[in-house]
């Protein structure tokens, strides 16, 4: 059973929240919010790879967890501090994770390392970076792999996955540089990043297509330096593209090679292609000319609209959830401070007691103080739970981000196809014009005819490219479709789990404190009775 599968344990701080540029401020404040909730323990002290996943099945499965006996708060508090424990009940989500490629993934041991080719003259000022130990165990294998990776490697992995899995909902990686990181202490930042990276890898492994992929395996298992070639080496690509541009402009290289169309036009190599596709999209949008191929899949368009609505409500819900968490936290805190103030009063009255009535009063205030402190603790425990469950909302906001990317993949693939098709159309019309002009010249026009031949060659090549692009587009469409299907299923499951968890924890908390207050109510009922008597 995957150890880190459970609704990702937010308690360790959500670095991911920072990466969602498109999300509202809500996401950014989440991190700080959770950081404060998380401040009660240090994720770095949590269990390291050395402790194998022994928790296995969570003690109380949903079916058997009786209403009277919820998991004790001590248990939850302890387990939630370790990202490795399945801190939620055996949920469908964990069941989903059970059939996974990897039975164990962890990121740990952040350690500074120096850049190898340090050219600094001053010793000790060579640029350093942090590397993390990534440990994993593949299903069916006993061997535990451990490799060192730095953040840059994760970025490379993410980029490669984005290329290889177009149309899929690829989990977004933790952000590079957050505003928070400027304000935060180094250690805190590193701790948050570590937890975020771990969560990222776990989500990747949960993905039905990415989990078993080679890219992922190589990342996890290949020792030494990260072997995945960085295909997003922007600098070289820029140079590459700049070098090709003159040739493109001169008309010598007008066709995108078939394999190129399998990728969207990116900066650098495909400047011309970018210009063309941009023109195409402008034509499609502004001039109102119907592009040769349109997104006709009605079902898809409906789904897209629904998802937009969903995302909107999700955003608002997650904002309210944060406000709720804050209010709960404040309540717990104030109840605690009240309890403390009453304890001080109790102590004072006890020490200074000159009258019997004072001692009685001190005993009363002690009872109330104790109850208040208990209630405060229970409230704070509840809040940890609430954070954990309602975090599902934030999770899904993250998923929406990958949905957008997947839809963009589809749109850009479509654009590529459309561009090629209008290329073909214009090439065809050029041929027709040339042929018509050539006919008018007696004896033929050798240069024009030669040009026509060239153009026909170009058309053939463009046709090939178009076929490739069309295949790619269909592939991406299919990916979209199956992912949407998967998302629908998983979303329902996740939301239901979230509600169940939230409601259960609220009920358990309330029951716990009913008891402690009712006891005090009973103990002080004499005063009420006397008041009633006198009133009568």
């Amino acid at each position: 059973m995957m150890s880190s599968t459970a609704p990702p344990d937010l308690a360790a701080g959500d670095g991911d929240g920072d990466g969602y540029m498109t999300l509202s401020l809500a996401a950014a404040t989440t991190a700080s919010e959770y950081a404060s909730v998380a401040s009660t323990f240090d994720p770095l002290l949590s269990a390291l790879p050395s402790s194998p996943p022994t928790h296995a099945a969570f003690p109380h499965s949903p079916a058997s967890s009786s209403f009277v006996d919820p998991p004790s708060y001590a248990d939850v508090a302890a387990s939630s501090s370790s990202p490795h424990s399945g801190s939620s009940s055996a949920s469908p989500r964990s069941a989903r994770a059970a059939g996974l490629e990897y039975t164990f993934i962890a990121v740990s041991d952040p350690a500074p390392e120096t850049e190898p080719a340090a050219t600094s003259l001053v010793p000790g000022s060579a640029p350093t970076y942090i590397s993390y130990l990534v440990t994993s165990v593949r299903r069916g294998e006993h061997r535990r792999h451990a490799v060192r990776r730095r953040f840059r490697d994760f970025v490379t992995l993410a980029d490669r996955l984005a290329e290889s899995f177009r149309g899929h909902f690829v989990p977004p990686r933790p952000d590079k540089n957050t505003v928070e990181s400027q304000v935060m202490q180094r250690d805190e930042f590193v701790a948050q990043r570590r937890a975020a990276l771990e969560r990222y890898l776990c989500r990747l492994s949960e993905h039905p297509a990415i989990g078993p992929s080679d890219e992922f395996r190589v990342f996890l298992q290949a020792e030494g330096k990260m072997p995945l070639p960085s295909s997003t080496d922007v600098a070289s690509r820029m140079l590459d593209g700049a070098a090709r541009l003159p040739r493109q402009l001169l008309g010598e290289e007008t066709v995108s090679a078939p394999q190129d169309v399998l990728q969207p036009a990116k900066g650098g190599r495909d400047l011309l292609r970018i210009f063309k596709e941009l023109k195409q999209s402008v034509v499609s949008d502004w001039v109102g000319v119907k592009p040769p191929l349109v997104e006709e899949d009605k079902e898809f368009l409906e789904k897209k609209q629904k998802l937009q609505d969903w995302e909107q409500q999700l955003t608002s819900s997650s904002q309210q959830a944060e406000a709720l968490v804050k209010a709960q936290q404040d309540m717990g805190e104030t109840m605690g401070t009240l309890g403390l103030a009453l304890i001080k009063l109790t102590k004072f009255e006890t020490e200074e007691a000159m009258y019997g009535s004072q001692r009685i009063r001190a005993a009363d205030s002690k009872r109330i103080a104790t109850a208040a402190v208990k209630a405060s603790r229970a409230c704070r425990d509840l809040n940890t739970q609430t954070v954990k469950y309602l975090d599902t909302l934030h999770e899904h906001l993250g998923i929406m981000l990958s949905v957008h990317t997947a839809f963009n993949d589809r749109a850009s693939a479509l654009l590529t196809v459309q561009t090629l098709m209008s290329d073909l159309a214009s090439l065809q019309s050029r041929i027709e014009k040339l042929e018509a002009a050539a006919l008018k010249i007696f004896g033929g026009d050798r240069s024009r005819l030669r040009k026509v031949e060239e153009l026909r060659e170009t058309i053939r090549a463009t046709e090939d490219a178009k076929c490739c692009a069309l295949r790619e587009y269909e592939r991406i469409k299919e990916n979209n479709r199956s992912e949407l299907h998967r998302l629908d299923r998983e979303r329902k499951v996740d939301m239901l789990e979230m509600l169940k968890g939230y409601v259960k924890s609220q009920a358990a908390y309330a029951e716990k404190i009913v008891e402690c207050w009712e006891t005090v109510e009973e103990e002080t009922s004499g005063y009420a009775r006397r008041a009633d008597c006198i009133a009568r």
């Binding site: 949903p62 209403f67 469908p92 609505d309 969903w310 409500q313 608002s316 819900s317 904002q319 309210q320 959830a321 406000a323 804050k326 209010a327 404040d330 309540m331 104030t334 109840m335 401070t337 009240l338 103030a341 001080k344 009063l345 004072f348 009255e349 200074e352 009258y355 009535s357 004072q358 009063r361 009363d364 205030s365 109850a371 209630a375 979303r491 329902k492 499951v493 939301m495 239901l496 509600l499 169940k500 939230y502 259960k504 609220q506 009920a507 908390y509 309330a510 404190i513 009913v514 207050w517 005090v520 109510e521 002080t524 009922s525 005063y527 009420a528 008041a531 006198i534 009133a535 009568r536």
Partner: protein, 399 residues
């Protein structure tokens, strides 16, 4: 003797046995009078009694805050040593002054004020109290303005320099550094009272914050409930239903939280505030005691000094002697008077303290009880609400 608890409701109470003496008072029906800057709140004061000193079985008068203040100040002036029941705060932030909550709390506090006077063995028999309860509005107005308008007697000046300033004025008038009563028990009592106020003020502050937290949590629960409902609407079918349930319960609990906030305010925070006020009233009495002590001490010193001189004069200047002797006898009378006043205050304070401690235990005990009761009920409502939703959630199977 346990004092009468404040009248919880404004309903009339019947005597336990026919003929047994009773005196029940209620302050009720706050009504805004006047307009603009001149406006104020008037209260109905209903007195039901069979005591002969009062005119008739039932009397209803209209009073405003300054009338209560008049009564308080008159009693404080005349009955030194007694802890005069405290009044609710005089001033309030302008916009808050006519808020429903504020008016209700003030009314409750004023009711408590008169009832405490009514159950104090000495205070309830005072003329001032009877005037307050029975005088018609005109007479009351006159009495009140008389008090505030007329030039104060010298003894009133002393009254006015009640706190720190009295020490300053003594120094200014050329007296030595102030002398204070300093028996170990009284020292202990002074420290106790001052520290008690601090502890209580802190507790009251937290209680007030707790009220606010309830309101905030209530608000955020309501907002959350709404958002969850809308979220569920996106999902459709069975999931939408459970989302809607959860949302509705949240909204319902939000209302309960607001109610508990009100309950906390009236039955827990206000009694704590009242406790603080009572302690402040004791501090005022302590100032009176300090003043009385100083008077007694000064006159006593003067007497001793004059007595010695008198002895000398007897032999040295027999003519002057008889004059001086008359003066001396007056001084001696004054000194004895001052000493008696001081000792009276000390004795009264003893009794009052015992009474105070008992009364407070009962008052605060009740407040604690209400607090626990309210929290228990709220928690129970929360538990019930969520338990009722759980089966529906469990039943909602995922495909």
């Amino acid at each position: 003797m346990i004092s009468t608890e404040r009248s919880q409701s404004q309903s009339p109470r019947s005597p336990t046995a026919a003929g047994a003496p009773f005196l029940t008072i209620s302050v009720t029906d706050p009504v805004k009078m006047g307009t603009g800057v001149q406006s104020y709140i008037s209260y109905r004061v209903i007195t039901k009694t069979n005591l002969p000193e009062f005119e008739g079985q039932e009397k209803i008068v209209i009073r405003r805050y300054s009338d209560f203040e008049w009564l308080h100040d008159r009693l404080a002036e005349k009955y030194k040593g007694i802890f005069i029941p405290p009044l609710p705060e005089k001033n309030a932030v302008e916009k808050f002054r006519f808020s429903k909550e504020f008016i209700e709390m003030r009314c409750q506090a004023l009711d408590l004020f008169v009832n405490r006077i009514a159950s104090h063995p000495e205070l309830k028999q005072t003329e001032d109290f009877r005037i307050f309860l029975q005088a018609d509005e005109e007479k009351m107005d006159r009495a009140r303005s008389y008090e505030t308008g007329i030039f104060k007697k010298p003894s009133d000046f002393l009254q006015m320099f009640k706190d720190v300033q009295s020490k300053v004025s003594d120094v200014v008038l050329g007296k030595e550094k102030p002398v204070e009563e300093s028996t170990p028990e009284y020292e202990k009592l002074k420290n106790y009272i001052f520290e008690l106020e601090n502890h209580l003020a802190e507790a009251q502050k937290q209680a007030f914050r707790l009220v606010k937290r309830h309101r905030e949590l209530g608000q955020s629960l309501a907002d959350f409930g709404k958002a969850i409902k809308l979220l569920g609407a996106c999902e459709g079918d069975s999931l939408e239903k459970v989302f809607s349930e959860v949302g509705s319960k949240s909204e319902m609990l939000s209302v309960k939280l607001q109610r508990e906030a009100d309950n906390l305010l009236f039955h827990f925070e206000e009694p704590l505030k009242d406790y603080v006020r009572s302690v402040q009233s004791i501090k005022a009495t302590m100032v009176d005691r300090a003043n009385a002590f100083r008077q007694h001490f000064d006159l006593d010193q003067e007497r001793k000094y004059k007595e010695l001189n008198l002895e000398k004069l007897k032999f040295m200047n027999p003519e002057k002697f008889s004059e001086t002797e008359v003066e001396f006898r007056e001084l001696k009378a004054d000194s004895e008077e001052a000493t008696k006043r001081f000792e009276h205050i000390v004795a009264v304070m003893e009794e009052e303290l015992a009474r105070f401690q008992e009364q407070k235990t009962a008052d605060i005990g009740l407040a604690f009880h209400e607090f626990a009761k309210g929290q228990a009920k709220l928690a129970k409502d929360i538990a019930d609400a969520w338990r009722s939703v759980l089966p529906k959630l469990e039943a909602c199977s995922t495909s």
